[in-house]
C-alpha cells in the first residue's frame, strides 16, 4: 500500500509541476525514479520531522503541494505542534503519507506503533483524514488527493492487504463505501482493518447472520448520512479499528449518533487504553486485542445475544 502511494506521488509529479516529495530518512532507493526525473522536487531531509513539516508549509505557502512520508508515529507525535500550527492553522495543502498506521511495526515495539494517530490528527481543525483499505483504493485516493483543500493525513497499512474495493468505481472523498448490506448488524471499519472485518462478516454469514459492512475510507470528514442510515436499518452497529478506543473511528461514530439523538447499541472494537506488549507480528497483536476475524465475529454474536 505504501509502495502504491509513493508510486502515485511520482505519477502526480509528472501530471502537476506543483507536486514535491519530502522524506525524512527513508530506506535506500525510495522513489529513486522520481529523484532522477525531478531532482528539484525530491527532498530527503534526515531525521528532522519538525523541520520537514515547517519546510513543507513554506513550500505550500508559495504554491507547491508537498507529499511528506515517514513512519506514522514520527509524522504525528513527533511534530504534532508543527502539524497544528504550520499546516492546519495556515490550512495548507500538505499530504502526510503515514507508514504503518496501527500495529504494522509490531516486532519493533511500542515506539513504532501508531495506535492513537487517528485521534490526534482528527482533533486538528482543517485536517482531513483518510485510511484506504487496500492498494486499489490507495491509488484512487492518491489521484483525488491532489485537488483537496487543506492538509491531509493518509494512514497507510502494511501492504498486500486483500483487495476489497476492486469493484468501487472511484474514490469519493468524505463518502462511505457500503461493501455489504445486512439486516442483523452493520460493521463499520476503516483502513486495512476493513479486510479483516469483511472476513468477520463472512464468518457471521456462515453462522446465519446478515452482517453488513460499511467501510469509511475518509475518517474526517465522516459520512454522517451513511452512518445514520446504517443505524436505522439494523439493531446493532459495530465499529472495528486498529486504534485505541479513545478518539478513533468508534468515537467518531458515537459522536455522530449522539449528535443526531439516535440511541442505538454500538459495540466498539479496538485497542484498550494500554501500550501493546509482546512483539511478534501485527496479526499476533491484533489477536491479543481480539481483532482477528474470528474474534470479531464472536464478539458481535455475543453482543447480539444480549439484544435478543
Amino acid at each position: 500500500m505504501r509502495q502504491q502511494a509513493l508510486d502515485m506521488v511520482h505519477e502526480l509529479a509528472r501530471r502537476d509541476s506543483r507536486v514535491v516529495f519530502i522524506g525524512s530518512d527513508l530506506g535506500p532507493g525510495v522513489l529513486d525514479g522520481m529523484r532522477r526525473e525531478f531532482p528539484d522536487r525530491f527532498f530527503m531531509e534526515g531525521v528532522s520531522e519538525a523541520n520537514i513539516i515547517g519546510m513543507a508549509a513554506g513550500l505550500a505557502m508559495d504554491g507547491y503541494i508537498p507529499y511528506v512520508n515517514t513512519i506514522a508515529t514520527f509524522l504525528t507525535r513527533r511534530c504534532y505542534e508543527q502539524l497544528a500550527i504550520d499546516l492546519c492553522l495556515h490550512n495548507l495543502p500538505v499530504r502526510l503519507i503515514s507508514n504503518g498506521g496501527g500495529m504494522v511495526y509490531a516486532p519493533l515495539g511500542p515506539t513504532h506503533l501508531a495506535t492513537e494517530d487517528l485521534a490526534i490528527v482528527r482533533a486538528l481543525p482543517n485536517m482531513s483524514v483518510v485510511a484506504p483499505a487496500d492498494e486499489t483504493e490507495m491509488i484512487r485516493m492518491m489521484g483525488v488527493s491532489l485537488d483537496l483543500r487543506g492538509p491531509l493525513y493518509i494512514r497507510v497499512g502494511k501492504g498486500n492487504e486483500p483487495v476489497v474495493t476492486g469493484h468501487v468505481p472511484d474514490f469519493a472523498f468524505g463518502k462511505a463505501v457500503p461493501l455489504r448490506s445486512g439486516r442483523d448488524v452493520v460493521l463499520i471499519s476503516t483502513g486495512a482493518q476493513t479486510g479483516q472485518t469483511l472476513k468477520a462478516a463472512d464468518l457471521l454469514a456462515e453462522a446465519g447472520l446478515s452482517a453488513g459492512l460499511l467501510h469509511l475510507p475518509t475518517v474526517k470528514p465522516l459520512d454522517r448520512d451513511a452512518i445514520l442510515a446504517a443505524a436505522v436499518a439494523t439493531p446493532l452497529l459495530v465499529s472495528v479499528e486498529e486504534h485505541t478506543l479513545i478518539g478513533g473511528l468508534g468515537s467518531a461514530v458515537a459522536d455522530v449518533l449522539a449528535d443526531a439523538g439516535v440511541l442505538k447499541p454500538l459495540l466498539r472494537l479496538g485497542l484498550p487504553d494500554a501500550y501493546p506488549t509482546g512483539y511478534g507480528s501485527q496479526e499476533y497483536l491484533l489477536g491479543q486485542a481480539g481483532l482477528l476475524p474470528g474474534q470479531i465475529a464472536a464478539r458481535v454474536q455475543e453482543r447480539l445475544a444480549t439484544l435478543s
Binding site: G46, A50, A56, G58, L89
Partner: protein, 269 residues
Amino acid sequence: MTVLDERSRYLRGLIIDALEGGGRGHVGSALSLVEIVRVLYDDVLRVRPDQPDWTDRDRFILSKGHGCLGLYVLLADKGFFPKEELLRQCKAGALLGGHPETHIPGVEASTGALGHGLNIGIGMALAARMQKRPSRVFVVLGDGELNEGSVWEGLMCAAKHKLSNLVVMVDSNKMQSYGRVEEVMDLGPLPVKFAAFGCAVREVDGHDVQALREVFAGLPADGDKPTAIICHTVKGKGISFCENDATWHHKASFKAELAGKMRAALETI
C-alpha cells in the same frame, strides 16, 4: 550604548500607544526588535504595502512572534493597515492579536509557538529558488527561541541546500521569559554555533541603524550559505526601567499610568 534617533523614538511611541490601547502586550521583546524591523522595512525588504501578496516580494517572518508589537508598528507605519488598529490590539474583534497571524496584511506566517518560523522560511526560500524568483526570506528569531531543537534542525537543512537567499537573524537581547539566557539555558558562543551549522555569520549592534544597513547591504554574505546575523540588542531598549528586566517581558494588565511613565522615559533618552 546606542543613541536612538527620532524615528526609533517615534516607533517606540507607537508601541506604547498600542500597549495602552490594548491594555496588554509583550514589552521588552518588542522594544529590542525595533531597529531590526525598521531597517528591514525602511531600507531592505522589497515589499508592496498596497499589494501584500505580490509574488516577487521578499518574505519577512517574525518567528519570535511575541515581539509582534515591534512588527505591527512598522506594518502600520508602511500602510499595510491603518494605524488605528494598533490601539485595539488584543481586543475582541480586533485585526491584531498578541501574536502575528496571516490574516493581517503583511504577515507571512502565523507565529507565536517558538521554533517554527525558520523552518517555514526554509520552504519559502526553496520555493523562491525553484520558481526562479528574486525573493529573499528574512527570519527573526529570539535567543530564547534558540532553545528549540527545530531551529537547529532547520539550520542543518538550510546549509545543506545552500540557501543564500535566506537570512536568519537573532534578536539577541540575552534575556528570556524567566531571566538571563545565560542562566536559563546558556547558548554558548552563538557565532561559532551558527558557523558550525553552516551559516555565514555576521554580528551587529541591533540598535545601530547605520550598522544594520551596512550588514544588509552585504547580503548574501556568502553565495553558498544562508546568512546568520546576530543582532546584539537590549531587551526593553529605550525605556530605562524596562531594560534588562525580566518582569517587563509581558504585561497582562497594562495600566495607563505605565504608558505615561514609559513616554516620559522615552523623552529623556
